[in-house]
């Protein structure tokens, strides 16, 4: 009997970790700053994906939100019900980390976008090899 779940999960982890390796390689070798930014955002998204996957366990069928509660329906819930609920809910802690990581990643990306926009307006190129020469004043 082959354990298919282990094979599928192993495949997903291998693919995501392979993406991380490729983005690090690409950021080091691609000369264009915009391509570096795209690779950086793919790297952070893959990291977030791995973090969320760590929260999954084999009995997951629910998000980490206790169902049926709304503004007007706020019944009191005791320990026994919540113990049952926690067996079928996904781990909330990685999701908390990812929520803030995404927004801060977006803000940092906006900042880097400003920097590259101004670099392009001033020097007319985003190729780091040409930029180095132009900043030193060796090329027009």
């Amino acid at each position: 009997m082959i354990d298919f779940s282990a094979i599928i999960w192993g495949y997903i982890y291998v693919v995501t970790i392979g993406i991380i390796a490729m983005t690090i390689y690409g950021m080091a070798t691609r000369p264009n700053i915009v391509k570096k930014l795209i690779l950086l955002s793919i790297l952070s998204d893959t990291g977030n994906l791995i973090a969320v996957m760590l929260g999954v366990h084999s009995g997951v069928i629910k998000p980490p939100v206790f169902p049926g509660i709304s503004f007007t329906n706020h019944e009191e819930v005791g320990s026994d019900v919540l113990k049952e609920f926690s067996k079928s809910a996904v781990d909330p802690i990685p999701q908390v980390l990812v929520v803030t990581a995404i927004v801060i990643g977006l803000a940092v990306l906006v900042f880097l976008g400003y920097v590259s926009l101004l670099l392009y307006q001033k020097y007319g190129t985003l190729d780091v090899r040409l930029l180095e020469k132009k900043i030193k004043g060796e090329a027009k």
């Binding site: 354990d3 779940s5 282990a6 999960w9 192993g10 982890y13 970790i17 991380i20 390796a21 690090i24 390689y25 080091a28 070798t29 760590l54 929260g55 999954v56 366990h57 084999s58 009995g59 998000p63 980490p64 939100v65 206790f66 169902p67 509660i69 709304s70 503004f71 007007t72 706020h74 009191e76 819930v77 005791g78 320990s79 919540l82 113990k83 609920f85 926690s86 067996k87 809910a89 781990d91 909330p92 802690i93 908390v96 929520v99 803030t100 995404i102 927004v103 801060i104 977006l106 803000a107 940092v108 906006v110 900042f111 976008g113 400003y114 920097v115 926009l117 101004l118 307006q121 001033k122």
Partner: protein, 273 residues
């Protein structure tokens, strides 16, 4: 050049291998996934809305928001300030930019995309506000709502032109004001219990939500709204979500609007001459 690229590739592979070794040897990555939640996750899931343990709960069935703004609230406040400084840093680069409404583009894209965008522009902010307001009840919150709202302004910039937003009063000063207002509301909400505790001589904490046996001041969690009866608002969580929604949506919209300004304005604003 070729050798250097191969070396960098090998280096990237080694970094990733070290990462994988750490994650697997510390049993963080388990293939296939474990049977049950880790004990810390179970603790949060069992305590966040447990009315039998009111000294530890956060009065919200949404465990993610509970951790984000209650159990781990101070951390999120600092992350909000990281967000604040990233946007401020971006705006500082073009600090002397002056927006001249007569030079802003109003042509936008074709009639088809304009019409579709105008329909979508109504619905995206509604979804964003709903996600932010229900942040303590359903998946979502201020961060997510703000990001969704920023998509709407990005869409308006691309399809209708920056001038469209500017003529409807989305000026730099006003957006900065909205964002600062959100941050001020956050700081008032997180400091209120601490200051109230100081004035009456009881223990109160920064970012405290519900009362504790040793710190008797809290925000409460039910409010009577007449016809609706008792409404669950989960203490400080709803205020923090709304304030964060304001701060994130205004900050990101402002960053996108400035980024879409014409070339000459950016060159002038960034002192690139």
């Amino acid at each position: 050049m070729k050798n250097k690229e191969i070396l960098l590739g090998v280096l990237a592979g080694l970094i990733v291998l070290a990462l994988v070794y750490l994650l697997v040897s510390l049993a963080i990555i388990i293939v296939p996934p474990q049977e049950d939640n880790r004990w810390l996750a179970s603790w949060f899931l069992e305590t966040a809305y447990n009315s039998e343990r009111k000294e530890l709960w956060s009065a919200s069935p949404e465990v993610v928001t509970s951790i984000l703004w209650d159990y781990r609230g101070l951390d999120t406040v600092y992350e909000t300030s990281v967000f604040f400084f990233a946007i401020i840093g971006g705006l500082m680069l073009v600090r002397s930019v002056k927006i001249d409404p007569s030079k802003l583009g109003i042509r936008g894209m074709s009639v088809i995309s304009k019409t579709v965008t105008k329909i979508v522009l109504v619905s995206i902010p509604v979804v964003a506000a709903s996600v932010a307001l229900h942040g303590h009840l359903t998946p979502g919150g201020g961060f997510q709502g703000g990001s969704i709202f920023a998509v709407a302004s990005l869409l308006a910039i691309v399809a209708l032109g920056v001038g469209f937003l500017y003529r409807r009063g989305w000026s730099k000063v006003r957006l900065l004001g909205f964002r600062t207002m959100g941050l001020i509301i956050i700081s008032i909400v997180i400091m209120a219990v601490f200051i109230a505790g100081l004035t009456i001589g009881a223990t109160g904490y920064i970012v405290q939500n519900q009362w504790k046996p040793w710190a008797p001041i809290g925000y409460g969690y039910l409010i009577n709204l007449g016809l609706l009866g008792d409404v669950l608002y989960s203490g400080s969580l709803i205020f923090l979500n709304i304030a964060e929604f304001l701060a994130v949506s205004a900050g990101l919209s402002l960053a996108f609007i400035i980024m879409a300004l014409p070339r000459e304005e950016l060159i002038k604003g960034g002192d690139l001459e």
